[in-house]
């Protein structure tokens, strides 16, 4: 399949590169040849490495959660009941979490489309999709704040809760709080990127506010990688923390 990300303008060094080989011989060639290994804009490589480091951070949190949950002698609170929402007098388990999951997946979809239309240089669609993504992200954070409010009102603290193992609160606030922070930061950056797209900074290769780095549509792809990663983390939190 053709590589869909052309990335930033070609430098002379990139133009003189050998055409990439497919499969394993390409891998060997990338690492053995006397040149940069990753044939992509540096911003994207750095985003991937940042994501890799963040994978380890979240994995440590989830492994820590597993250790606490296995080793406690008290019963672990049942997430289905803890996170149930009462609608019309009926208690529906995990309703809020399910809605949050759908919202985050939707935002991932709109982000993927924003990257696509960015490369197609369709400024209006890209900006609109970015703003929808940011809006969905903000709604997600808002619902998380709502969920925290409910739980704090019910007496959940990092050191105690009314239903069982005391570690529940610590793990819950740490993991969802860290994830919510990631979502919040993502929303801020997506709004900034939407403004850049709208005023044509990426097309005009204008440098940013805090950096001399010139704008290009590859930036939306890097931001998209971050946003999809945030969604990816939620997939694991949803499964391990809420469903397990």
């Amino acid at each position: 399949m053709a590589n869909p990300h052309p990335g930033s303008p070609l430098s002379p060094e990139e133009i003189s590169r050998p055409t990439p080989q497919a499969g394993m011989s390409g891998l060997v060639n990338d690492w053995a040849a006397e040149r940069r290994v990753f044939d992509m804009p540096w911003g994207k490589t750095m985003m991937w490495l940042f994501i890799l480091s963040d994978v380890f951070i979240f994995a440590c949190f989830l492994v820590g959660y597993m250790v606490l949950r296995i080793s406690t002698v008290e019963p672990w609170p049942d997430a289905s009941e803890v996170f149930a929402l009462t609608v019309g007098g009926q208690s529906i388990p995990l309703l809020l979490i399910a809605i949050m999951t759908f919202i985050l997946i939707s935002s991932s979809g709109t982000m993927a489309l924003a990257v696509k239309y960015g490369y197609a240089k369709d400024r209006r669609k890209t900006a609109a999709l970015l703003l929808i993504t940011a809006l969905l992200g903000a709604v997600f954070v808002g619902m998380q704040a709502f969920e925290w409010t409910i739980l704090i009102g019910e007496g959940v603290r990092p050191w105690e809760n009314p239903w069982g193992a005391a570690q529940f609160g610590a793990v819950f606030f740490l993991i969802t709080g860290f994830h919510g922070t990631h979502v919040t930061i993502g929303v801020i950056f997506i709004v900034i990127m939407a403004v850049k797209v709208m005023r044509g900074s990426l097309e005009g290769s204008r440098p940013g506010f805090l950096t001399g780095r010139k704008g290009n549509y590859g930036m939306i792809e890097s931001l998209g990688l971050y946003w999809h990663f945030v969604d990816l983390v939620w997939v694991f939190i949803f499964a391990f923390f809420y469903l397990w």
Partner: protein, 105 residues
């Protein structure tokens, strides 16, 4: 900057992935609602989780179209996390048995 020779994945690829993510989320939610227990429940939750993660990484994060050098750089290191998880599960199991043994009385 010439990007004409490169092609973005077609719109329907994204839409299809999107729909599948919705379907898999509904399925994992149904597992919780259905009250399944034990290995079947955990197996299904893990299966749907991995399928969703795979779809997001492969299509939304474009891994399916990347060179192997970046694919391996990103995907191989997290594999050691499974080893960490296994070690810590053993450790936690030991902690639990000590707690039960010492604090039970």
């Amino acid at each position: 900057m010439d990007q004409g020779s490169h092609q973005q994945p077609a719109l329907r690829v994204y839409l299809r992935v999107w729909i599948w993510l919705f379907v898999l989320s509904v399925l994992s939610y149904l597992v919780d609602l259905s009250g399944l227990e034990g290995l079947l429940k955990w197996g299904l939750i893990t299966l749907f989780m991995l399928l969703k993660a795979g779809l997001i990484v492969a299509f939304f994060m474009h891994m399916a179209w990347e060179r192997l050098s970046i694919v391996y750089t990103v995907l191989v290191p997290p594999a050691v996390l499974l080893f960490l998880a296994a070690l810590m599960a053993l450790e936690a199991d030991y902690t639990l048995s000590s707690r039960l043994g010492i604090f039970a009385s």
